[in-house]
Subunit: 411 residues, 2 copies
């Protein structure tokens, strides 16, 4: 019996639906912030399932969680797979968590099929990929890979004012019973399964996306400072209104980022106004910029023009622009890409090579190991939304290809 | 000795500076939300000061606070004066609270001068004039005047999610020791002292503003609903992004409300984005509209055009527009206006007749009694801002004119 044949569609689906209950929100969505009590409950479930097949559990100082299935050669570099377990504040049921549960299902299938691999296989759940509670995202994988020390974000605050440092300390204390491992190592290969979060696979009626690389992302925060004034007495012509200057700034950024091919992604998803009361001209506005492109040169040029574009657009206020996330585009390793393509063929699943529009933890593993990803379809391309959906059959197909790929990479 | 001569500049200033400590924020500002513990502390101070001169204290079911100095004729309708004690979230030291402390200083001066009036004089502190914690403002005076029942706002929530109904219940329980009076009555006259919150008096180097009326205000809340999507995968051309449609809506409203005379005031002071995370296209945006004009016909026409202007501006989302405050312009009673003008002349203070750009509780007393207001200058016209300033001398001049006016109206 092959690992792929031992993958259980129902076990995987049941586990996903069990996890959905932790942080369920209306419309089949999930709100499970990283380092929250809900996150810890979900991790305990995953740990218990991993222990059922004798996997060894450990965490590192960034709270990344590892589930290790031993190989026959204890000195061989492990094959690493996994994703993240945190969700967007109004997220779906599959983003991230699928990659962790698929990794667990893959090693469970190997266990059930009685297959031993030469190399160990480790399943990882990276901390804070979404950046929904603490920005930016991918803190766990960035810290693990040596891209940025975890202490760099200690003072980042969530909307309730709690710092990332305090939340991480609380979390590590709650998991003090788990063995601790150091950050980082060089795996033999890294392969992450994920939902596509885009419309391409569904539109082409294809079961497996063989991911060739990830477009680059840059995140900025913009603070526009004006002067609060009375909405009834201050003539409009005398105001320094940061809301109105934000309008001018975003309008200018829309022009800067306009792309006839609709490849560049420009998003203002967060706006915070001070004091945010209806009869006072605001004193300050903060907003986020998320800009992405698969071409590093374009991403660099457009991103570098943001501050000057905003400065030129303002009429009465002053602006401060800070970049706080910068992930240049990456291409995945041919050996992992080809392994996934071959595994899909071996499993009899249709496959298509495509780049990733979303960033993923995989991006930060690239410097350490041959890296790749595989996608399963997202209904209507919807993600970061309660309506996110991939069928049990589609999820199982992805996990079969993952299990087959891991077996090959670990042999 | 006249009441005006008995007004103590230092006592009034010291009381204001004592109150400033309750909710002090950087830059000499104040954040003292209505119905908060700080608000209650401030009220207890004012009550204690009123009791020093034997004033009778009572509250009504809207938590409006009354301090009554008896007249010689117990059956005569009282003369009413006062203002509010709540502040904007980033407010100044004089907005509202000056009118309460000036009223208290006026009856204290009458007391000190040994003057008895035929009519009682009552000093009122109206609940929630600012609308900073619970929108709209002027709830206390609206409820008192029979404009709107206080229960109408029971479900309005503050930014922390607490309802106005719950906050009011908690407040009334904390003041259960104070005698309760019914809502509303017909005073002989109402006169409110306030800082100008505009630049006119300072620019003209005038001590007293004799207020002739108040411009009209209309408040709306706009909800734009789109569809959340992944910032990295959703092509810009496929999005229903409510942030982008809000830009279009406000741009169109700027055109609708453009006024070459700079008389119309249009403000978007509050914006709330859902889910408000940087890497997700928003699902919903809510923003406030505050529009004001001294001409009722213009205010009616522009306000009535808001919903259709927004609907026409949207490209991909849908909008819901709700009006939740509508105060048409009012003119003040000649007898009160002339009394203030005559009192200013009697006190030797320069005076100028002018309309009010801000709305005030006085607006809602107009249907019940001859009503007026007097203004003292605001430095640089600044208000709703920690930099709000009126000098001790200017405040005392206003209170002398108030005391003289009240003595005349109550005789």
């Amino acid at each position: 019996m092959s690992a792929a044949a031992a993958v259980s569609q129902s076990r995987q689906w049941d586990r996903l639906m069990t996890l959905v209950r932790l942080g369920a929100i209306p419309g089949d969505g999930v709100n499970r912030p990283c380092l929250s009590p809900l996150d810890r409950e979900a991790r305990r479930l995953v740990i218990a399932w991993a222990q059922e097949i004798g996997a060894e559990v450990s965490i590192d100082e960034a709270a990344n969680l590892f589930l290790r299935r031993a190989g026959t050669d204890p000195d061989a570099a492990p094959v690493l797979t996994g994703s993240h377990m945190d969700s967007q504040p109004e997220g779906g049921r599959f983003d991230g968590i699928y990659g962790v549960i698929a990794g667990l299902e893959a090693i469970t299938a190997l266990h059930d099929a009685g297959i031993t691999t030469r190399r160990p296989i480790e399943v990882v759940a990276w901390t804070n990929e979404e950046g929904g509670r603490f920005a930016p995202g991918c803190m766990g994988s960035m810290a693990w890979a040596g891209h940025t020390p975890i202490t760099a974000w200690a003072d980042v605050r969530d909307p309730a004012g709690i710092t990332f440092g305090a939340a991480l300390d609380e979390h590590l204390a709650a998991e003090a019973d788990l063995p601790r491992r150091p950050l980082g190592y060089r795996p033999h290969a890294y392969l992450e399964a994920h939902i596509e979060q885009g419309p391409v696979l569904e539109a082409a009626d294809i079961e497996i996306g063989v991911v060739t690389g990830i477009q680059g992302s840059r995140w900025f925060s913009v603070t526009i400072t004006g002067a609060s004034a009375h909405a009834g007495t201050a003539p409009v012509g005398t105001r320094q209104d940061p809301v109105q200057d934000m309008l001018r700034a975003i309008t200018a950024l829309n022009e800067l980022t306009a792309d006839p091919t609709d490849t560049l992604r420009f998003t203002v998803g967060r706006i915070d106004v001070l004091p945010n009361t209806s009869n006072t001209v605001a004193s300050q506005v903060r907003f986020s910029i998320d800009i992405r492109h698969p071409d590093g040169a374009i991403l660099r040029a457009k991103g570098d023009a943001i501050a000057s574009t905003i400065a030129a657009a303002l009429k009465t206020c002053r602006a401060e622009v800070k970049e706080h996330f910068n992930a240049m585009p990456v291409g995945f390793a041919a050996e992992v890409v080809e392994t996934v393509a071959a595994a899909a063929a071996a499993c009899g699943h249709s496959a298509l090579r495509l780049p990733s529009g979303a960033f993923h933890d995989a991006q930060f593993v690239v410097p350490l190991a041959p890296t790749g990803m595989l996608f399963v379809p997202s209904r209507a391309g919807i993600s970061h939304n309660p309506a996110e959906y991939t069928s049990p059959e589609q999820l199982a197909a992805g996990t079969r290809v993952l299990a087959e790929s891991l077996a090959r990479l670990a042999s």
